[in-house]
């Protein structure tokens, strides 16, 4: 088991007596090389969950086991590239052990070859997301966390990037936890989908996606979609 999450309770601090419970009795785990997607409606605490896994939020009851001494990488919803460093330097700073060849290959692979020396403010959101993804992959993470990586991109761009990310995850075998509100995104990337309830959120259904993905039949995809929608609607 590479990632094991058991959160008994996580409250969102409000005013006195107005704290809101965000997560309750949430359990999920991932094996090495697995790609999991956490699927749920907006505002159900998905980002909170990711922040707990990333070690940015310690204020919860429960237990989260991440790979001991392992490397963690995260692609935030906003790319969070350092605006005062070039794209290339952003990657180099985060991944001091990656060689120049490796970084160049990653940049080329993500279609950023011509943007290596630019400051992030020059990039469109789509390009900036790719740069953030390149930074995350450059550290060769044991666990990759993706927070709605395709949100607010136009549909064609989102689809193209999603296919590229799915391919990179398959090729590198990196264990991945994706958070999304979009079912087709979850199916497009994950081997296993965890459907969350409304807050306080817990896992109400775990669906396995038949792999390899490209061999998935339309009927299988349709069935998966219906089961996920049923789980979401049951709430």
């Amino acid at each position: 088991m590479l990632l094991d999450i058991a959160i008994d309770a996580k409250d969102h601090p409000g005013g006195a007596g107005r704290a809101r419970r965000v997560l309750q009795g949430l359990r999920l785990s991932l094996e090495k090389h697995q790609a999991g997607a956490v699927l749920g409606p907006s505002g159900c605490g998905k980002t909170t969950l990711l922040r707990i896994v990333a070690g940015l939020d310690h204020d919860y009851a429960g237990h989260v086991a991440t790979p001991a001494g392992g490397r963690l990488a995260m692609v935030f919803q906003e790319p969070r590239l350092l605006p005062w460093r070039s794209v290339q330097d952003n990657i180099r700073i985060a991944a001091p052990l990656a060689s120049v060849t490796e970084i160049d290959a990653l940049l080329a692979d993500l279609g950023l070859g011509g943007h290596a020396d630019q400051f992030p403010s020059r990039l469109s959101l789509g390009l900036a997301r790719r740069a953030a993804l390149a930074r995350a992959l450059a550290i060769k993470p044991d666990l990759l966390l993706l927070d709605e990586p395709f949100v607010s991109l136009d549909a064609a761009l989102a689809l193209a990037l999603r296919e590229r990310v799915a391919r990179l995850i398959d090729e590198t075998g990196v264990t991945t936890l994706l958070v999304t509100h979009d079912l087709s995104e979850a199916i497009g990337i994950a081997d296993r989908i965890f459907v969350l309830s409304k807050p306080p959120a817990r896992v109400v259904a775990t669906l396995d996606v038949a792999t390899p993905r490209r061999l998935m039949t339309d009927a299988a995809r349709q069935e998966l979609t219906e089961r996920a929608q049923a789980a979401l609607a049951a709430e």
């Binding site: 490397r71 963690l72 995260m74 605006p83 005062w84 985060a94 400051f119 403010s121 966390l145």
Partner: protein, 249 residues
């Protein structure tokens, strides 16, 4: 070009006025230059300029180093801010002259008192700039650095300092213009050398030529520092902002 013309017009005005007034009240530019050159020839000009610049450098470095460190701490740490803020308010409102005279009375007419008094005048300003810079740090980059396990050194160099740099650059420019003015007062009141000392001498002799022959080269040097070091440094550390602004247009 306009700046140059404006500067030349000051010189011309001076020249014209000098023809009207008694040279004892307003010597003409050429005679001032002549005296400055002869003082330079004898080495006296450089000796006094050197002494003053050394004090400026020492007081500036001390105040910027200590003030920026304390100010950053205050911006990041609530307790430090609560402890140091009353001190900051007192220092900000203490007249420069009071600090200087107190320093001389307590520590004697020595170099440490002189440099210390000047530094103490710049200290609160440096603290305010650094505190603002620390408070303006974007926590989202800090979180990114934590997730990616940046080393302490990498965090300081690539996350903290670039955000702090524009504040430090502004602090340095404001500080330099304050420090070099106060250094002259400190010298006038209690040092046996430096531009301030020569100005005191000129004051007592009612010698405007001597006063200007020392004051103007010093002003020229500080202007050069401002134009050739401080301003380029400021635009260097904000170049990524400029790049972003240019791109938007």
């Amino acid at each position: 070009m306009i700046r140059l013309a404006s500067f030349a017009s000051i010189l011309l005005l001076w020249f014209a006025l000098a023809q009207v007034f008694d040279p004892r009240h307003l010597p003409d530019p050429l005679s001032v230059m002549e005296l400055a050159f002869s003082e330079a020839d004898s080495g006296a000009l450089f000796e006094h300029l050197g002494a003053t610049l050394a004090r400026v450098a020492a007081a500036f470095t001390l105040a910027m180093g200590l003030g920026s460190a304390l100010g950053y701490l205050m911006g990041r740490n609530r307790l430090a801010n609560d402890i140091l803020d009353p001190w900051l308010v007192v220092l900000l409102n203490l007249p420069a002259l009071v600090v200087i005279v107190l320093a001389y009375l307590w520590a004697g007419l020595n170099e440490a008192a002189a440099v210390g008094a000047v530094a103490l005048n710049k200290l609160p300003g440096a603290m305010v700039f650094a505190r603002e810079g620390a408070r303006a740090q974007d926590p989202s980059y800090d979180e990114m650095a934590r997730v990616f396990r940046f080393s302490r050194q990498a965090r300081l160099r690539h996350v903290v300092l670039p955000q702090l740099a524009p504040y430090l650059a502004a602090s340095a420019r404001a500080g330099l213009s304050l420090v070099w003015k106060i250094v002259l007062v400190v010298e006038l009141l209690g040092r046996p050398n430096g531009v301030g000392f020569k100005i005191n001498l000129a004051f007592q002799l009612f010698d405007l030529r001597l006063l200007l022959a020392y004051a103007l080269p010093f002003v020229a040097i500080m202007l050069a520092v401002e134009l050739l070091l401080a301003q380029p440094f400021e635009s260097y550390v904000s170049r990524w902002r400029l790049d972003a602004a240019r791109h938007r247009h």
